[in-house]
Amino acid sequence: MVDFINYVQNDWNNIFSYSIEHLQLVGVAIAIAILIGVPLGIYLTTNDYLAETVLQVASIIITIPSIALFGIMIPILSTIGQGIGFLPALIALVLYSQLPIIRNTYTAIQNVDPNIRDAAKGIGMNTFQRLVKVEIPNALPLIMAGVRTATVLNIGIGAIAAFIGSGGLGVLINSGISRGNNNMVLAGAVFVSILALIADFILKYIQSRITPKGIK
């Protein structure tokens, strides 16, 4: 334990910059994933045929082992000279995030009490008003839950992205394995967990801020 703390103190600069790298990768990935997943999820509620296809594809993607997906990215992206590093890692993480985000958005909007939806229609709201005033506010908790799941998932998978040169805390873990240095491995694990917890905490806070009081 003392060893561990010493290690963290000594190598703090590295740990910190790996953490930042890690966060950048996951942060950008999640932001993009939200920008794609949420509107797509909303659109899918209006097109059942497509919903089935998209959800199936997303659920297949998420079953692909991460190291394999990173691996497959390399030859494909090499064709544009971006085989390693940030881009393949980013694409893989964005893909992994899609299932939780799309599925949650989709079911959240779909599960908005049909009576509420009817009431909104009966009052004379147009589709957009309904979406903004009624459906999205009521679906928010579930949508955010999807974002949180995706974030925690990505922070974990981000550690594996270190093998294709995108840096982050995975480097610490991998080097720890190579050097037989358990403190390094532990530091990697602990900081990944801490990042996940902090991210989850922040997202929960955001969620509580934007969730209408009436549905808490």
Binding site: N115, I116, G124, M125, N138, G214, I215
Partner: protein, 323 residues
């Protein structure tokens, strides 16, 4: 005026929920859609504001085919109380109630005043509820908010789907009274779904009794009670339908019919009855007491004559013939 012309509704191409219904709801009329569960009341109502498509036939409001109207606009002009209240859980009670005025761009002051007015009307203290959320209200309170929401922008037409179903008998009666009182003044055109015969008799100018998607009888409550067109109707309104019809009349009606005048003498022996009491309660009182007659008392506390079983019977026959 709402006009149904040979309206039918097929669900999924095979379930016939509404079967060739024609009827007219006059301007300012309060019409009850009555019938057993699953007979098509909700369906018929929802076709008016086009939440359900019309499979066949035509529905028009003020002479205009609903299909040709702008849906959004038409719905804003039509208050709709949904069967299961459908309040928006993300909005406060005030926001829920004032959503249509909000969409219409009313200013704050006007909205607030309207909210206060409606809440008072429905027997709820506006300030107690303004900032609360739907889940913090009991079922009956939620239902009243649903009614308030539909009334908010004072639409000339109201579609109400069992709006008082969740209220317990005591509150229910109160709200019904309030509602009738406003209706007397503002004369909206109302389609009101119910499966409670007593409520229908009490509230409606007319009752449309449905069964399996068809109208069995469309009549004034008294006529339906006293002259049911077929066995289904008489079964549905009950064997004691005459007693039921008596809740429609007060002692006042009887006094007017027979032209009873103030009487100076007071009869000390017998119990008094207010002129506003319904005849049903009057009969109950007669049955419950030794004397054969009750003294009718008007608002000023003056005796107006005595009420006997025979008088009630006579009044009833006269009314039936007059109908």
């Amino acid at each position: 005026m709402i006009d149904f012309k040979n309206v039918s509704k097929l669900y999924n191409g095979n379930v016939k929920a509404i079967d060739d219904i024609s009827m007219t709801v006059e301007e300012g009329e309060f019409v009850i859609l009555l019938g057993p569960s699953g007979c098509g009341k909700t369906t018929l109502l929802r076709m008016v504001n086009q939440l359900e498509s019309i499979s066949d036939g035509e529905i028009s409001i003020q002479g205009q085919n609903v299909k040709q109207m702008d849906k959004i606009k038409m719905r804003r002009n039509t208050g709709y109380v949904i069967q299961s209240n459908g309040l928006f859980p993300n909005m406060t009670i005030e926001d829920n109630t004032m959503i249509v005025p909000d969409l219409l761009g009313w200013d704050r002051k006007k909205k607030r005043d309207r909210f206060n007015y409606l809440m008072d009307l429905l027997g709820m203290n506006p300030d107690d509820y303004r900032k609360r959320f739907p889940h913090e209200l009991s079922g009956g309170q939620q239902q009243r908010i649903g009614v308030a929401r539909a009334m908010a922008s004072d639409p000339p037409v109201m579609l109400m789907d069992e709006p008082f179903g969740a209220l317990d008998p005591i509150i229910r009666e109160k709200v019904q009274d309030e509602f009738l009182a406003i209706q007397k003044e503002v004369k909206k055109t109302i389609l009101f779904v119910s499966h409670d015969i007593d409520e229908a008799v009490r509230m409606g100018d007319k009752i449309a009794l449905l069964r399996d998607g068809s109208i069995m009888q469309y009549d004034r409550p008294t006529d339906m009670l006293i002259q049911p067109k077929n066995e289904f109707v008489s079964d549905f309104v009950g064997k004691d339908r005459v007693l039921r019809s008596m809740s429609l009349y007060t002692v006042q009606n009887l006094v007017d019919t027979f032209g009873l005048k103030n009487k100076e003498e007071t009869i000390l022996d017998t119990k008094e009855i207010s002129i506003h009491t319904s005849l049903r309660v009057a009969i109950s009182m007669i049955l419950n007491q030794e004397a054969d007659q009750l003294v009718i008392i008007n608002d000023a506390g003056e005796a107006q004559g005595s009420l006997t079983f025979d008088l009630i019977e006579k009044f009833l026959h006269q009314e039936v013939k007059g109908a």
